[in-house]
Symmetry: C2
Subunit: 258 residues, 2 copies
Amino acid sequence: MLRSCAARLRTLGAPRWLPEGWRAPGSEPRAAQRSFSSEEVFHKDYAVPNPSWNKDLRLLFDQFTKKCEDGSWKRLSSYKRGCALRVKDFQTHFLDPKHMKEEQTSKAQLFTRSFDEGLGFEYVMFYSDVEKRMVCLFQGGPHLEGAPGFLHGGAIATIVDTTTGTCAVITGGVVMTANLNINYKRPVPLCSVVVINCQLDKVEGRKIFISCSVQSVDEKTLYSEATRYASASPEISVGSCCTCVTSAPLRTGEINVY
Amino acid sequence: MLRSCAARLRTLGAPRWLPEGWRAPGSEPRAAQRSFSSEEVFHKDYAVPNPSWNKDLRLLFDQFTKKCEDGSWKRLSSYKRGCALRVKDFQTHFLDPKHMKEEQTSKAQLFTRSFDEGLGFEYVMFYSDVEKRMVCLFQGGPHLEGAPGFLHGGAIATIVDTTTGTCAVITGGVVMTANLNINYKRPVPLCSVVVINCQLDKVEGRKIFISCSVQSVDEKTLYSEATRYASASPEISVGSCCTCVTSAPLRTGEINVY
């Protein structure tokens, strides 16, 4: 069952660019509100301010939202997970059913959006097509603790993976295999806001090279640096769609990002 | 305020070896049960089977538990976080108070233990001092999803960081700065069990090199490979204690691991 992920994206008419509210040609627009609370949760865009966001995060959000006004930057929407139908379709082709029971499937949620408001990953990503640059504004909540008072190294790796993976998909389309290389330089205080600057360094044939930095809001502290190597491909097999599948979960009529 | 983390560990009489139930000389043994439910949660050892563990994880746990009988292997305990007093002490010296409000501090939980039973990271680590090898048995729950049906790349990075970080602390003592390099080869099905084999490759002066693999239970599928470079040091400054603080949160009279 080596049906390609790329073929699915083509079917959906997926562009390389994933701006806020984008949907595939001919697809139905999403309902603004659903009658079921669970549906509301899954269709809610989480990449917008909520009461847990601190002053730094709100200020940065406002600054980048302003940059979006002339179209040079775009905010990327983010949801808890794809719709049930799409999930089932995806699993049929990529997952051995023995691994997952129906009960578990129904509980599945996107890792970075599976926390209650303010406790885990609070973030929003903005992308500039002109600059080939992505910025992720991130506030790591109290349930992401490593040592007392600091973010867990895995939480930093997660937001770095999320940002670089999304950047890879946007700039390179579907991506297969990946290497993530992170240098941890300083511990990140829990509940502080950091800015992840991510850019496409170069494209060599089907190879994509991305780098990013994790900095304090005032840019005086460099917490981490990371690089991501990935290989873009029009055909993705079951065994090598790691980056693709961790970077762009599919939804009805659109591609959402983390 | 550059009081070293290493000095703290020396004060506690911390060994490089962190077996189940280890405590510092002269320290009081932990109460088996506390009267407050929150205290019970923080003092509960989560590295033992619970109803969410599937058959594969239970079988592997039993196999490694048997290996522990002759003392060649040790199971590592794992808790939600350190005691309030230790946390406060740690923060005083390593964290600018402006970053964290009391309300946030009280909600802090170890990232990998902050999920409800079965939804997130279910894992247990065993270590062989003879073989200088660590094994982490890991079941990734439905709230760790990346693409539909698969683990998020960040969740894999997190359990890899946890395992290699703990291995670094055990084999090298206190560790400063770190590089984590992960090759994602195949996507990991959600709710399946994987085995992370981690070993100390070499020690050059104060430099520690660790490598690990993430494999299926039958060892037929290699999901990821990773390396970790770290530098052991007797003196850790605020700016470079990343690996140390994300690997070995302190508790009253003992050092717990992830």
